[in-house]
């Protein structure tokens, strides 16, 4: 059991590195979808007998539907409408972002050693995985130019927060977790609408075009 959990955590981190190194948008969206599916699996694997079954199923099912299917579908639609395939000329190149991502993972492991956990034996990799996923998301948002990639970066960041939240399923009320998932869905949905308008207004999804407001 533990080995499966550890394996999933490692896969999540591998997906992070892939995201930072990949320029093809289709591959990036698929990888984000895969990460969503991994998170859903984690929600099931980490559930202890003390958890209410309905609650665990809600979280895992919600993550699967929203993160692994619906949002990737939305993003695929966006790139098809805009007819774009690649992230060209990112602000930070692919190799430097990969190096930064690797450094982030190392730092996440160092940082989480100093923080006390309620059940450390179960969650050796949880906190570092969560923090390095958050870091990957932040990197994607600030270092990429396409609006779609920035929205995906936000999603990856939220994935990191979600992993962390798995530590807390037993005392987060269902209502709050459902609210968090729905908020995320709505946020990406609104982003999708704005992306659609950006595409129509500028005939491009480069946020370079969004640079007329400054002091």
């Amino acid at each position: 059991m533990t080995s499966w959990i550890d394996m999933t955590f490692v896969l999540v981190v591998v997906v992070n590195l892939f995201l930072l190194a990949s320029s093809r948008l289709g591959a990036v969206i698929r990888a984000v979808a895969l990460q969503g599916a991994l998170l859903s699996a984690l929600a099931l694997l980490l559930a202890s007998p003390a958890h209410a079954v309905g609650h665990v199923l809600l979280v895992a099912g919600g993550a699967l539907v929203i993160k692994a299917f619906f949002i990737p579908w939305l993003m695929f639609r966006a790139i098809r409408e805009a007819a774009i395939r690649r992230e060209v000329e990112p602000i930070v190149g692919f190799v430097p972002s990969l190096l930064l991502g690797g450094a982030g993972i190392a730092l996440a492991f160092a940082f989480s050693r100093g923080l006390p956990l309620p059940a450390p034996e179960m969650h050796t990799f949880l906190v570092p995985t969560a923090l390095s996923t958050v870091w990957t998301g932040l990197l994607l948002v600030v270092s990429r130019k396409k609006a779609v990639t920035q929205a995906l970066g936000f999603l990856v960041l939220e994935n990191g927060v979600f992993i962390f939240g798995l530590l807390l399923t037993d005392f987060m009320p269902v209502m709050v977790e459902a609210g968090v998932l729905l908020d995320l869905l709505a946020a990406v949905f609104v982003m999708g609408i704005v992306i659609f308008h950006i595409n129509r207004e500028f005939a491009s999804l480069d946020t370079d075009a969004l640079a007329s407001l400054k002091d």
Binding site: P118, D183, V194, D215
Partner: protein, 477 residues
Amino acid sequence: MAVTLVILVPLALAAAALAWPDARSRPWLLLAGAGAHAAGMVALWLRPEPPLAEGYLFLDAAGKVVLSTTSALFLATAVYAQGYLRRRPEKDNRVFVSGLLGLLAAMTVVGLAQHLGILWVAIELTTLATAPLIYFNRNARSLEAAWKYLLVSSLGIALALLGTFFIALSGAGPGGPRSLLVGALVEAGPGLSKPWVRAAFVFLLVGYGTKMGLAPLHSWKPDAYGEAPGILGALLAGGVTNVAFLSLARVFQVTRAAGEAAFACDALIGLGLLSMALAAVFMAGQRDFKRMLAYSSVEHMGILAIGLGLGGGAVAGAFYHVLNNGLAKGVLFLTAGNIHRAYGSKRVDEVRGASRRLPLSGPLFFAGFLAVTGTPPFSPFWSEFVILNGALGKGRYAVGGLFILFLAVVFVGMGATVLKVVQGDDRGAPERPGFADSWLTAGPPLALLASVLALGLWLPAPLAALFRSAAALMGGS
């Protein structure tokens, strides 16, 4: 009863606005929502209600300050919207009206929330309700502003969620509260795990600080305030940023109870001073008078953070300032919107002679400037004075000195811009025909200014007591 009224009525009306077929009569729903909310708040003042939904929702003193401000400001903007939306029949107001009502409901939940999870959900909803509204003008510039606002706020909010989880974890040890209810966390106090509380405060300061627009997390603000209609600017600067401040204050409550107050106070004062300094720099020579108001908002969020961070009497001053800044920002944004309408431009080098062309809005814009920069006898003078007094009383002379210095620089910088807009001869300045001051568009800012003046001349005893009890929650007096 009244608690459900102030949340559910705006929410129901927001849904109704989406379905409402007639664009001309749709803005009436705003007035209905504002009226119901104000009535609910009056009821809550007269007869406080016990905690609702297992203690998740409860109107304490701090929430009361913020929600009363929000309610008054929303009422004024709802009246203004009747005139404003009637003048812009070419724009579809369906999403706009619905979004504003949704925003009111979300802000109300933030004000009432005693559970950090619910609080987070509601804060995120304020972002989602407002982002599409920034795009009301349907042009490239407003689209850019909407995207930046959405992305920056969402990032901030995501980090705040992580911080919220950290707080939850700090109370997850043996004997911990295992809850996100503010009351339970404060009660557990020193029992919370300190490293987690400290990390949580950093993340939540960044997250809710982004929503407040504290420097250096303010990058969305000038763009959003510059491009959004005046109504939305008023509600962002006087409503959303205030509820974000309240969220930060709730986190501060927990951090203080856990014995990490010194660290949190230093961070708040540092960011507060930085915000004031940055606003002072960018306000001078600002070429767009709506963007100038954004920097004024950065400045005043800095003042609130300093007031909270100083502790003691300054905290009551900060809550007093929540009210004053909210009302004064309403005056400024609504009149700036009128001036923008009448000239078709918001560039300082083009707009001049506003007090001639708009005999009400022009002078009101100027008076709003005097009020917001803390000129006596307007009420912001008193709240800033209380905060300054708190700094000097605690021997924080450097903080007090910088506070006065930045206020003075802002006064000069903002004054130069405002005078250019208001004074002079309007002949030859760009013109957009068909707009003149009317009671619907100039009346609400006039009423807000009158209340800022009245509060400066006489502060009712129940209000003063309310600020003190709100401060007491945060460890002030």
